[in-house]
Assembly symmetry: C2
Homo-oligomer: 416 residues x 2
């Protein structure tokens, strides 16, 4: 059969969802064009490790072309999709047009600043390689500045680090940052009094880890406290001007570093599509993950608004995106065979978050773990999931080293 | 003894020279302030490996504070020195002033574009982490562009890579780039005809590796040819506008990529010092490495103009900087004891350059080597010299992997 006559499937996004869908389609009689604005797949759950100088980007990013070298039915295009014409069935990318028969939209998410422009301008975020590297450079630069600042109140403002958001990313970042300071920076800056350092974790609600069972919320709270993270609950940020955080209760905190992990939304492209959007700008899908009135289009992952059995939208997690990728591929196969697509059902595989060097919390296989056992599970699972054997090996060496010597490798301040 | 009463030595620059001097002074009764505009020491001879996506910055850069953790008599300051008052004996850094009793200037070198502004604006260079990463991003981006370029002449211009300078850096870059293309890119871009790719090495003089013995020049030439590098000798560049190289013989080459390795000069700071400068803007020193009329100031490394026994100035090499650091420290000790400083003599330890994955040329221990044996020497020596055991281990794993699988790890296009 002439490959040009095969149906053309375009996948937008090479994150967890897009990548999985493309891989699952390896043996199907379709031509696939995979598009991403980066030339690599990023293991986002470890981005915070880049920010705290624990890993370098190449350890958690892997070139898309290399992943798909052996998949003959796939072509990769690096580029930014600016618009999609669902009626004429084509995607606009960097001035050129790519027609499709089927489309999987897996465009992912981005940070949500909820319209607070000063915050957006002054906060650091952990959504891509560049923002994580910028955060690392800033954190290290701040220590250099503090080391030569003679004025105590200015120095204390420099050495106050605020992480906003009590979900897994905020908890992991605050815990890892506290450890970087108490175990590594203390050696690099022997002349500084690191008692002046504060790591604050701000959460607008009454708990850290709100999506976790109560026992693990408490474990998280205690583990963070043990690492000298100051936790402020019911602390709702209203403004950050780059030097001062203002909370809704009027409290002010002087800081030059605010890492915002308290909001995610669908990628901006979702706003350009003229389709139905729900909370967090996510695209509303049919139970089959198809776009309403466009059965040839599937929407999966962070960008998809899909209501679960309990009436809540599914969270923006890699496992959701991957399960939806599986389901979209199954439904695409059915359509190609002339069968009816089926509704998607999410199976919760558990929750897992790390809090620094040797502690984590996990709910997995119906059980709750915290502390060192949860950390071992976390390390094993994350290393296993990283694409590429060498990456796994290098990450493993780094972590073993860190664990033995309380050391991190990449405290380089690079220019942006 | 009150440490504040000890003589204060300021070292400007944490490159090979400054680092070595600081380490040699660990046990001397002096207070040392080491200043660098980066917070890391960089193993410059491997910068080209970053440009061709073979290594990542953290494998060849190491935080200065970590290197000197155990050296009690040293303080590190990250900052840019803008001026020095030799009469009043202070250094100006980022608005503050640092007084010294003794000074070691080890400010290093930078790329010399010989006043060709269009070239400077459009060329890529390999002098620091940022420029090497920019080169890597550009090379990978060019392949993405070429993969979607339908016009053959435009595609050929994209796929023409010009390296200028037949010295070790140019030879190493051209050889490694040719291998990246023939062994790695060919797998990542299966739809592209990589016969359209050209890697050109331009040298203004009649030989590649002019400072090497004739036999090794010939070996280099042949090794490069075997890797499909086109060598153009007596090819003097007069202009590069970003799209077209013009040579003095009127020849034009269409290319979007020119990597300039054909000129080095002392760092710009040398021009601000109002001291005697010679060829390549280097600061003229006494035979003892002291600054004329300022016996308390030593100038070493790339920034120092020092004429060897044969009447030629010493080349800008790590080994020269390190030997001069040794000599400057010896002379400083003599001065502190009230003795007379001695003239510096350079001992040539040999020459060594690699040409891609498994070939190199070396003149060492009075012998000439080329091919695989030289490559093994090169790998062993470079890994040994890299600071930090983990760095050595990770670099070793990377290279072993590359060697076995013709693979490089870091083909990530990151935004600048």
């Amino acid at each position: 059969m002439n490959p040009q006559k095969l149906p053309h499937l375009v996948i937008v996004g090479a994150g967890f969802g897009g990548l999985k869908a493309a891989q699952k389609l390896a043996k199907l009689p379709v031509r696939i064009t995979l598009i991403d604005r980066q030339n690599y797949h990023l293991f986002q759950p470890l981005l915070y490790q880049i920010a705290i100088a624990g890993l370098v980007p190449s350890q958690i990013a892997y070139p898309v072309r290399t992943i798909f070298r052996r998949q003959k039915n796939l072509t990769f295009q690096m580029g930014e999709v600016s618009a999609i014409d669902f009626d004429a069935r084509y995607v606009k990318m960097d001035g050129s047009v790519i027609a499709y028969d089927y489309l999987i939209l897996a465009v992912g998410g981005q940070t949500n600043f909820f319209g607070m422009q000063a915050l957006e301008h002054n906060a650091f975020q952990l959504k891509n390689v560049e923002s994580a590297v910028a955060t690392r450079n800033h954190l290290l630069e701040i220590f250099e500045q503090a080391s030569r600042e003679a004025d105590e109140s200015k120095r204390r403002a420099l050495l106050t680090f605020v992480v906003v958001g009590g979900g897994p990313t905020g908890v992991e970042t605050a815990g890892a940052l506290a450890e970087l300071i108490t175990h590594v920076m203390v050696k690099d800056y022997p002349h500084m009094d690191l008692k002046e350092v504060r790591v604050l974790l701000l959460e607008a609600g009454p708990y850290v880890m709100p999506s976790y069972p109560d026992g693990l919320r408490k474990s998280t709270f205690n583990l963070l406290r043990k690492k000298n993270v100051e936790i402020m609950l019911n602390a709702k940020l209203t403004d950050y001007n780059g030097e001062q955080v203002t909370l809704s209760n009027g409290m002010r905190i002087q800081t030059r570093t605010l890492i915002w992990t308290a909001g995610v939304r669908a990628a901006e492209l979702a706003d350009q599509l003229r389709v139905g959007q729900a909370a967090s700008s996510r695209v509303v899908t049919e139970p089959t993950l198809q776009l309403p009135n466009h059965p040839e289009v599937f929407v999966i992952g962070d960008a998809a608004y899909f209501v679960n059995g309990n009436g809540e939208p599914l969270p923006m997690l890699a496992t959701v995106a991957q399960q939806q990728a599986d389901a979209a591929v199954r439904n695409l196969k059915k359509i190609l065979k002339g069968e009816k697509p089926e509704a998607f059902h999410y199976k919760d595989p558990g929750l897992l978050a790390t809090i620094g060097r040797n502690a984590a919390v996990a709910r997995i296989w119906g059980l709750s773990f915290s502390g060192f056992i949860a950390w071992v599970i976390w390390v094993a699972l994350h290393i296993y999931r990283l694409i590429g054997f060498r990456n796994r090996l290098v990450v493993l060496i780094n972590w073993a080293w860190d664990y033995l010597f309380y050391e991190t490798q990449v405290r380089l301040i690079t220019k942006e």
